[in-house]
Structure formats: structure tokens, C-alpha cells
Amino acid sequence: MKHLVILGAGTAGTMMSNHLAKSLPKEWDITIIDQRKIHHYQPGYLFIPFGTYTESDIVKPVKKFLPSRAKYIQKPILNVDKDKDLVHLEGGQAIPYDLLIIATGTDIAPEETPGMAGPHWHKSIFDFYTLNGAVKLHRALEEWNGGHLVVHITEMPIKCPVAPLEFTFLAESYFHEKGMSEKVKITFVTPMDGAFTKPVASDQLGHLLKDKGIDVVPNFNVMEIDGDAKKLIDYEGKEVSYDLLVTVPTNKGAEYIERSGFGDELNFVPTHKGTLQSKVKDNIFCIGDATNIPASKAGSVAHFEGEILMENIKRFIEGRELKDEFDGHANCFVETGHGKALLIDFNYTHQPVSGTFPFPGIGPLTLLRESRMNHMGKLAFKWVYWNMLITGRHIPFVPSKMSEAGKNFEEIQS
């Protein structure tokens, strides 16, 4: 028997196990390893602070979504010995592999910013990138009497890079509905040069923040947080004061990657951006948030990557040349509050496009424009996620390579 081992049973790992169970040749067995018992629908974290979803809406057992052909081991990974082709688990077990797929994603690291993870963490400084953080933030928002809410991105890259902006829009909508608009000032603080940085998006969407009375502080690279004085301080000495801080801390890959000696400075795995083969060793592939490729870290991206990775695993096993085809395709709903959302579609070389999706000229979804239908689409994504995305079923009408029909294109010149 030959051994294929998948590290991580989140979005990408679960999806790959289902794809592989169907088509991997019989002489291969499949093992999938994760520390968790419960699978989280992470896009749902965004809605928990506002009470739209509760914890039970977004969690299900990991095993429920794994194919019977895959053996599940629920253990933390200690490290990968790439020279001996072995994965070491906590408790001393060593799992041999012929082919390894790394899909351990990314997690927040608030300890990277002085003053963030201290005594004020989950008291006046919150995150919504973990279930625990989102639940605590929900309680804090319910009790809050108003003041200055600062929504903040620590540094790039982060997963779902539009989530902080969505959180900002939803917060504005939430306080409006509570009749607290007068009492709440919202500021969006980002290390990038604006809330929307691609020219097409900032042209078309820049007005949204202004219309909603949200201030933006761009080019702000936080150096430390003074939690007692409630202020963010950046490397140039600029300061932003807050009453309530909602931050997206530094995102890092798993620590075992550092212990295995092959991650970059944020523990992301060096990966070829077109083939998804790692640059670590030929028999290690990487998918989802764990890679260092310059695509967005999003569930939809993992879905598009899955198709190319399947093809390349087949080719690798047969000793053929890999297909260098992944185009960085991403497709995300962006909640804008008040029951509306946008839909964006872009890749390595194309800016977000306007037009209609998935049917050219018909939609029903509109690209780069707010609509109620898009908001329905975002809520329906939860069903698509549990029933199609991670179970490896084909999502109708949405090809992995970006389709150009029905869209108005502008090339990114680089």
C-alpha cells in the first residue's frame, strides 16, 4: 500500500479527502489528521457578534464530512520530518507518507503585537476570527453604551481580507437598528493605503464608507497597543484612540511548520502558485490558507485550488509533468449592512470586475454592486459550504478558472 496523508480537516483538507476518496487508485490509502473534533464554518464567525448566528449554527462534527475511505486521526501534529517522509503526532505516534497534503490553514497570533494579548484581551480588545472571540464580542456589543469603535487590521496577509470591512458595515447597520447611531463613531484602521486598494474597487465602492459616516485611517502599521490608555500606536508615532477595539491580529500558519523547518517568517509554506506543489519537497503539496501564494486566503479559493490539485496529484502519481494552471481565482460576497451585499470576482491578473454572475447578462447576482440578492447569496453560502464545498461536489456554473463572459474586464498591469 502507498500512503497519502492530509494534514488539517478544515475546509481544504475535508474537501480534498472527499475528492481523493473518489478517484485515488486502489493501492493508495488515505489518512487525515486534525486536532479538532468539531468543524467550524468560519465565514459564520462574522455574524456571531451581531446575534445573526449563534455558535450552534456554525459547528458540526469533523467526522460527519469525511469519506469512509479516509482514516481520521484526531491529534495535534508535532512536526513533519521531510527527509524521512514522516509526520510526528503528539503522544509519540509517527505516520509515514508517500504523498503529503498540507491544509492546516492559518490562525490569529495576538501575541505578535505588544499590548494586544495582555489583560485587555477580550475585555476592551476583541477579535472575531475565532469562535471564542466572536462569542465574547457579541456579549460586549450587547452591553456597550456607545463611544468610539475602531475596527483594525494588524498586518497583511490575513484570511478573508474583506471580513474586517464587512464587520465595519455590519456594525454600522447593527447600531443603526439599535437606535444608537448618534452615540457610536466608527473608524476603520488599515496598514494598506485605503479600505479598497484596487483602483476599480475604490472607484466603485469608495463612496460606501463615506455614505455611512465611517472614517478611514490608512497606512497605519501598528507597533504596539497601550491598553490602559486605549490607543493604537504605529511605527511612525501616529496614534488612534478607541473605546472598543475590534482587531484582526497577525495571521500565522501552524507552529508545527516552524518546528519542521520549512515555513516562511509567518509559518506559511513556500508553494508554487500555479501547481500547488510545495517548494519544500516534491512529494509535499499545499492548499488553502497554509500556502504563501499571492491569492486571497478564502474558502472559495480553496475550492478553486482543489480542482487543479486533484489533477496534479494524479499526474504526480503517474510521473507526468504538473499542470501550471491555478490563476488565483477568488469569488467573495461582501456584506455591506442593511440586508445588502456585493459580490466580487477576481484573480492574479484581473481586478474585481463588474457585470453579472454566474449567468452572463442575467445574474441573478451582480458583481461589484450592492443588492439584496447578493445578501441572500451570502447567507446561502452556508448551505453550499456544508453540502457542496467541503464534500467536494461540483458547484454548478462556477468553473475553477475565472470566466470572462458577462463581465467588464480591466487587466491589472503589473
Binding site: M156, P157, P161, T197, K198, N219, N221, Y235, D264, V334
Partner: protein, 102 residues
Amino acid sequence: METTIAGKQVKLNEQGYLTDLNEWNRDVAAALAAEEGVELGEEHWPVLEYLQSQHKQEVPLTIRNVGKSGIVDIKGFYALFPGGPLKKASRIAGIPKPASCI
């Protein structure tokens, strides 16, 4: 867009970044730097060369990896390129603006 910088024909994108690193030279860099309000000195070149080498290896650039490069720390990077160090330094180095989402 075709234009002439420091006596050399170059192509720029709509945000003023070179679209072809082969058209870059030190005079072009100095002219782009002047537009960004930066006067290039001895300490700037190793940083620019580091950015170019990372770009050629397709390593996505962040302030953090520059800060850990051993060439300059984050505070030093800010001192050399005040305002938006990564954005400015990338433009002066002739490489694309660091990727972001929308």
C-alpha cells in the same frame, strides 16, 4: 502608459509603478524616489535590491519580511521610506505594488 524618466523610455501602470523591471536602473530609481519625496543614499540600495530579489523569487512582500531580512528593521525601513515604506520602496525598486485584496 509610456513615459520618459531620467532620460529613459519606460512603461508605467495607472498607479505609477513600472510594468517591466528590465526598464529599471539607478537613475530611474532616483527619479521615482524624488516623486515619493525620498532622497536615495547608501542605505537605500541594499533594501531595494532585497525587494527585487524577493520579487524575482515570487515571494509576496510584507513589512514583516523586510523587517526580518537582516538588512533593515521595521523602524529603519520607515526611516528610509517615510509614509508607506513598502508601497514607496516597491515603486522605487521597479516592482509591482504589493498585492492586496480589493
